[in-house]
Structures are given as structure tokens and as C-alpha cells.
């Protein structure tokens, strides 16, 4: 009795096994094992910074294309790029490391609020219903959509200034905050040698007098920086200065010149007392070593700072 049962069940098992084998052969999905390997290497945060749906979709795109042209994992940076290139057997596409920069100076002290917003705490919503607490239609609304968008915990709101702060260590330059900011305040800029950056912390395109009415640290479009810059890195358009980070050589002449303090220089030691006229070596050297390809550990190229 038991034997019959075992035999019948065994037979059924064998029949199904044969059927399943042929079905599996018929409907086999061929997937490149490389996809799995690459997906393993990618950060796995699914941040969407590459423009794909997630890390696996990106891995598929890599394999489909066979090289890395035009595909870049901003969150993974150089390290991941190298690993992926190794797996794909191509040269990695190297680009300068970037970091998110908040281009607004409208802190509680600089841009005094004239009214209070108590609606839904969402920048996109606030942007659609009113100009902002100080009246500046370009400035940060301070409701933290960028903080919510950041997958890496690199953004936080400074309770004192009411502005978002970027943690350079954590920021992977995935660009999620750039996309989410309804006012386009956050920009991805070159991380810079030794993390040093000079940028205009303002987006105000109003004429100077109006801009100043809203915010004491606004760019008034006076053009002093444009004239001062020895490298032609600064352009004033629509009453707003913009520093091209590919041309800027971090001399900081514009910072000293700006009458409102709208130009920010970060991670610099304090300026030395003005003995020597702005040393030409100070600006030359970065050109020679130009590519911060090895910017992971930048060499101390600029001893005058």
C-alpha cells in the first residue's frame, strides 16, 4: 500500500519535472550575469540621480550600452565608476566631483519676514500661493522640501538662519534637491580643490533697490565682481551675478569687492593680512594641476592660502 503511494507520487513528480524542464527551456529569460554584478557595485540607494528608475535599471542600461558614455552614477562617484568600468572593460568616464550649493542668503537676519505662513509646510505649495515671508520671490521658502528629498541625509535646516545646510561629506551630488526646489536655488557645483568654493549666494533678478528692500545680502547686480574678476568667470545677467565654476580660480577678489556680501567663499582659511599684492602664484597653480581628478585626496597645491 505504502509502496503504491510512493510510486504514484514519485511518478507524478517525475512527469512534472520533465514538463517543467521543457517549459523552463522554452521560456528561458536570458539575462547577462553582468547586470547582477554591476548592480552589486552600485550604491543601491535608488536615489534616481542618474535619471533611471533605480540602481538595477542603471545596471541594465550600463550592460545594454556596453560602455559608460553618458551614463553616470552621481551618488557613487569615482570609486563606483572605476569598478563599473572594470566590469564593463572600458575606461571610466571621469568628471569633477560635485556638491550641492544653496544659493540663497535670505536668512532670518538678512531677509526680515513681513508675514507668517501657516499653510501646508511644503515649498511647492507655498511657492504657488505667495511670494515668501520676506517678499522675495526668488529666495528660499524655508519649508524643507530639499531636506525631504535628500536620500543621504546630507541636508538639514539651520534653525537659526532658516536656510538649508549641505553636509559636504554626505552629499553625493545626485541632484534630487536640485530637482525638487521649486525656486531653483540649489545648484550642483564643482567641489573644488580642498572643498573650496566661491559662489553667488543669491538668485534675485530684481533691480538692486528692490532686491535690497527684501534682503540686505541680496545680489544687486552692481557688476563690481564682474569687473574685478581677472579670469572672466563672472557674468551679470538680469541684475544677477553668476560665477562659472569652470573658470573660477578661487582668487576671492570678488568676495572682497561685493558690497552686500552676496558672494560666499567656503572652506578658506581667513585671508592673510594684505601685505603682498594678490599673489599671482595663488591663481596660477590651480591651472597647472587643473584636473581635480584625484580630488579624493587633493595635494596641497596652494600653500599661500
Amino acid at each position: 500500500m505504502i509502496l503504491t503511494a510512493v510510486l504514484v507520487l514519485g511518478l507524478i513528480g517525475v512527469i512534472f519535472a520533465i514538463v517543467l524542464y521543457f517549459v523552463a527551456q522554452k521560456f528561458k529569460v536570458l539575462e547577462d550575469p553582468l547586470i547582477d554584478e554591476i548592480a552589486e557595485v552600485l550604491p543601491g540607494a535608488n536615489c534616481g540621480g542618474c535619471g533611471k528608475a533605480g540602481c538595477r535599471a542603471m545596471a541594465e542600461a550600463f550592460v545594454k550600452q556596453g560602455n559608460m558614455d553618458g551614463l553616470k552614477c552621481p551618488a557613487g562617484g569615482e570609486e563606483v565608476a572605476k569598478k563599473v568600468a572594470e566590469l564593463l572593460g572600458c575606461t571610466p568616464e571621469v568628471s569633477d566631483p560635485m556638491v550641492a550649493v544653496v544659493r540663497c542668503n535670505g536668512s532670518c537676519g538678512n531677509a526680515v519676514s513681513k508675514n507668517n505662513f501657516d499653510g501646508l509646510a511644503d515649498c511647492a505649495f507655498a511657492n504657488s500661493v505667495y511670494a515668501g515671508e520676506s517678499g522675495c520671490t526668488f529666495g528660499c521658502l524655508g519649508l524643507g522640501n530639499c531636506v525631504k528629498a535628500c536620500q543621504f541625509g546630507a541636508l538639514s535646516m539651520d534653525p537659526e538662519t532658516g536656510l538649508p545646510v549641505v553636509d559636504e561629506e554626505k552629499c553625493t551630488a545626485c541632484g534630487a534637491c536640485v530637482k525638487t526646489c521649486p525656486r531653483g536655488i540649489i545648484e550642483l557645483r564643482k567641489k573644488g580643490i580642498k572643498n573650496r568654493r566661491v559662489y553667488v549666494a543669491c538668485r534675485n533678478k530684481e533691480k538692486g533697490a528692490v532686491a535690497r528692500k527684501w534682503c540686505s545680502a541680496a545680489c544687486i547686480g552692481c557688476g563690481k565682481c564682474e569687473k574685478t574678476c581677472p579670469f572672466g568667470a563672472i557674468k551679470v545677467e538680469n541684475n544677477l551675478a553668476y560665477i562659472d565654476f569652470n573658470l573660477c580660480r578661487l582668487c576671492r577678489k570678488c568676495v572682497a569687492e561685493c558690497p552686500t556680501g552676496a558672494i560666499h567663499a567656503v572652506n578658506f582659511p581667513p585671508l592673510p593680512p594684505k601685505k603682498e599684492p594678490a599673489d599671482s602664484t595663488a591663481v596660477k597653480e590651480p591651472i597647472e594641476t587643473k584636473a581635480p581628478e584625484t580630488a579624493k585626496e587633493p595635494v596641497n597645491i596652494n600653500p599661500t592660502y
Binding site: 508675514n115 499653510g119 501646508l120 511647492a124 500661493v129 505667495y130 511670494a131 515668501g132 520671490t137
Partner: protein, 442 residues
């Protein structure tokens, strides 16, 4: 008494300025006339700096389809055409005019006599509405000439005049009915003729017994005007709800009132229509309620368009009370808080509502307990709590499939929510996201 079937709430009515007769607001020193005072594309200025203009002169022309003409509300010199911050502080183009005297266009009939006969053909009426820059004064400022040109293949059966004035505090419609009943009835007859409908229904909420009496008596002298008292329930004056109240019909999702044979017009618009057609007066004035529970006096003013909110407040109150928390344009349910009092009024403005600090704060928000009060309150039969969750989690397609775009933003859900969740704000954000998604798909 008639009412709509679904949802609705009963906010405190606060109609405290009903007995204040309409006063004439003195002319300001300067006006700023915004170029987009209506739904649709902004009008194009046709005057230049230094030009002399008269009251009622065309200063900006409608060039797009969805647009309305704009006329000078004052006489004087064009000071500049520049950017002007609107009441929420966003930049708009405006024509600034320095006021000099009060010289009107000769074509405008300023006599107080009432002109009863209208010999214009329907097409001519619509053309004249377009020329005079008439827009709907119920809040949406929809250009009137588009509303009254019924598209091919559709037929208007009902003309419904919205005099519900269901928003708390507002009394401008109330006062217009009390003081200009006959003109309104003539205006309604003109619109009836333009659409070719047998009957026009004027819906008035029953908390306005005096206007109901006055209008009913006046309507007896006119053919085909029926006054319908309505149950007091917010949002009785919303277009789709009013259609449901008066005709029992339901406007399907994504359709317009004309698809169910209805055209709805605000009572203020009918008065503007009368003045435009019979007196050649363009839309250069509107009636504003200046009110607030804590204010020493309540007013209804006839103001020229383009006067700043500050000018109005200065004339009506001297200055704002020191404990003012919010100044709202419109009622408490759908009005917008004004963040820039230097902004000029527009065609659609209906009130200046001053609230003190204690009245103007939102109560602290807590978690949704799925009580379903918002669903019971929603006059469109939607699920506000669901939208709130979907929008928060960026599930925009799902929100669209639950008809988020049907929301009329009446505020009933927020009003009824025991957890004080800003549901209407979330839905507005969701609607904007759905529209952006639809635009991206195209």
C-alpha cells in the same frame, strides 16, 4: 426650499455688514491696473507712458482667445508700464496711472435713469460684453463673452444666477440686490436673450430674506425670471452645487455646466452686464465689503479697480488695528490671505476681511483618525483624506484616478477635519502635481 444633495458644511455666517449701504470710495492718487485680472492670458497694453487716458478708455486689449479687455478706471496720465506685485507678492505687469480729475468717456451714460429696452441681437450682446471687458465676478473671473457664446452642438436650457453668497462675511451681492434690483433684472433679461433660454433662476440663500423679497417683487415685472430661495449651506454658490440645487442635474466629472444645458452667472456680473450693455460702461468698478468682527465699522464700497488695498483700508478704517493677524481678500472659506497690502485690487476682488490675531491662526495639526468627516463634507463626493496620503507619498497617478481634479477647493474638508489637517492645501498641491504630470506626458 432647494439644496444640493451631497456634502456641505455650515460655517458661522458673520454677515455683519449687511446694513451698510454702498458708499463711493474716493479716487486714489494713483492706480495700478494689472494685465491679468481674469482667467487666461494677460491682456496687451495699448497705451504708452505719458498718454492721457479717460475713465473707461480701452488701455489693454485681449489678443488671446481666453482673455478680456481692460479699461482705464480713472482719468489721468499713464505714469509707467512696469512690474507690480500682486496681493500675494508675485510679480505681474501693470499700467500705473496718475489720477487727474475724473473725466469720463463721452460714450458712457452716467445719468441715473434706468434704461429698460435692449434691442441688440444675441450676437451683438456677446460682442459688446467682449468689448466692455466683462468677466465673471463670482471669483473665477471667467471672461463673459466666452461663457455666453454657447459652442456648436450644445444648447443652453437654464440660466442660473448665483446670488447665494454662501461665503461667510461677504455682503456685496446682498447690497447690490437691495440697491440695484431693477438693473439686475434687466441684466438677467439681457443674458436670457443672449442665450435664448426661456427661464432664468436667481438662487438666493434663505439667510437673506430682504433681498429675496425685493428681488421676487421686482421679478414679477419681468418675463421668465424666477427667484429660488435656497437652504443655507456652504458651498451653495459653487457652480456645480447650484446647478444641482436648482435643476437637480449633476455635472459629470471633467465636464462643464453647458454639457448639462446650464449657464451660471454671478449676480454681480449681471449688474455689470446691465451697465455695459445699457450704459456703455466697461468693467471699471466693483463692490467690495470691508468687514471684520473686531472692526469698529463695517462698510460696502464701490471702488475703482486698481486702487490699492492700503488705500481702501486707510479710507475705511484709518489704519489697521494693531492686533491684526490676517487680511483676506474674499471670504473665510475660499479667500486668499493678502501678504502685500500695496497691491492693487482686480476685477474679481470682493472683500477686504480683517481678522485679528486670535481668529487668524490655524489650530495645531494632529494625525488622521479615518473618521471620514471630510468625505461627508465634500460636496463633490471625493475622499480628501485619501488624497492627503497619496499626495504626501507622491502617488500622483493614483490621485488622478480618484478624480482629484474634480475638487473645487471649497475648503469643506479642512473645515470639518477634527485633526485640523490642511487637506485643501494638500489637494491643491496634488492638483498642481497632476497637471504637471499631464503636461509632461503630452
Amino acid at each position: 426650499m432647494k439644496t444640493f444633495k451631497m456634502g456641505g458644511v455650515h460655517p458661522e455666517e458673520n454677515k455683519i455688514s449687511t446694513n451698510a449701504a454702498i458708499e463711493q470710495m474716493p479716487l486714489p492718487k494713483q492706480v495700478a491696473v494689472l494685465m491679468n485680472q481674469h482667467l487666461g492670458a494677460p491682456a496687451t497694453p495699448i497705451v504708452a507712458k505719458g498718454d492721457k487716458v479717460k475713465v473707461g478708455q480701452l488701455i489693454a486689449e485681449a489678443q488671446a482667445f481666453m482673455c478680456a479687455n481692460i479699461h482705464s478706471p480713472v482719468s489721468g496720465t499713464v505714469n509707467k508700464i512696469d512690474v507690480c506685485k500682486d496681493m500675494v507678492g508675485l510679480p505681474k505687469t501693470a499700467i500705473y496711472i496718475d489720477v487727474e480729475g475724473d473725466e469720463w468717456m463721452e460714450t458712457i451714460d452716467r445719468t441715473p435713469d434706468i434704461k429698460r429696452d435692449c434691442s441688440l441681437e444675441p450676437k451683438e450682446i456677446v460682442a459688446k460684453l467682449k468689448e466692455m471687458g466683462i468677466v465673471g465676478l463670482g471669483g473665477a473671473t471667467f471672461p463673459a463673452h466666452i461663457k455666453y457664446s454657447v459652442p456648436e452642438g450644445k444648447k443652453a436650457e437654464y440660466l442660473i444666477i448665483n446670488a447665494a453668497e454662501c461665503e461667510p462675511y461677504l455682503t456685496s451681492d446682498h447690497r447690490v440686490m437691495m440697491e440695484h434690483a431693477e438693473e439686475i433684472c434687466i441684466g438677467v433679461s439681457i443674458l436670457r436673450k443672449a442665450l435664448g433660454v426661456p427661464n432664468a433662476y436667481i438662487g438666493i440663500e434663505s439667510n437673506k430674506p430682504e433681498p429675496i423679497r425685493v428681488m421676487s417683487e421686482m421679478a414679477k415685472n419681468f418675463e421668465g425670471i424666477i427667484v429660488e430661495p435656497l437652504v443655507v449651506k456652504y458651498p451653495q454658490g459653487a457652480e456645480k452645487q447650484l446647478i444641482n440645487s436648482i435643476t437637480g442635474r449633476k455635472v459629470p466629472s471633467g465636464k462643464l455646466p453647458i454639457d448639462v444645458g446650464c449657464v451660471v452667472s454671478n449676480i454681480g456680473t449681471t449688474f455689470a452686464v446691465y451697465e455695459a450693455i445699457q450704459k456703455n460702461k466697461p468693467l471699471i468698478e466693483n463692490i467690495l465689503t470691508v468687514t471684520g468682527k473686531k472692526l469698529p465699522s463695517q462698510h460696502n464700497y464701490q471702488c475703482r479697480i486698481g486702487i490699492t488695498y492700503n488705500d481702501i483700508i486707510k479710507h475705511a478704517l484709518g489704519e489697521l488695528p494693531s492686533n491684526t493677524g490676517k487680511v483676506i481678500s474674499g471670504g473665510t472659506m475660499m479667500g486668499k490671505a493678502i501678504s502685500n497690502l500695496d497691491a492693487p485690487t482686480t476685477k474679481g476682488a470682493s472683500s477686504v476681511l480683517v481678522m485679528d490675531e486670535s481668529e487668524s491662526r490655524r489650530r495645531p495639526e494632529s494625525n488622521c483618525i479615518r473618521c471620514g468627516k471630510c468625505m461627508n463634507a465634500c460636496p463633490m463626493g471625493l475622499e480628501p483624506y485619501l488624497f492627503s496620503a497619496l499626495v504626501k507619498n507622491n502617488r500622483i497617478e493614483e490621485a488622478q484616478s480618484h478624480n482629484i481634479l474634480d475638487c473645487i477647493e471649497c475648503g469643506c474638508c479642512f473645515f470639518s477635519c477634527p485633526a485640523n489637517k490642511p487637506l485643501t492645501d494638500e489637494i491643491r498641491l496634488g492638483k498642481a502635481k497632476v497637471r504637471a504630470m499631464m503636461a509632461a506626458k503630452k
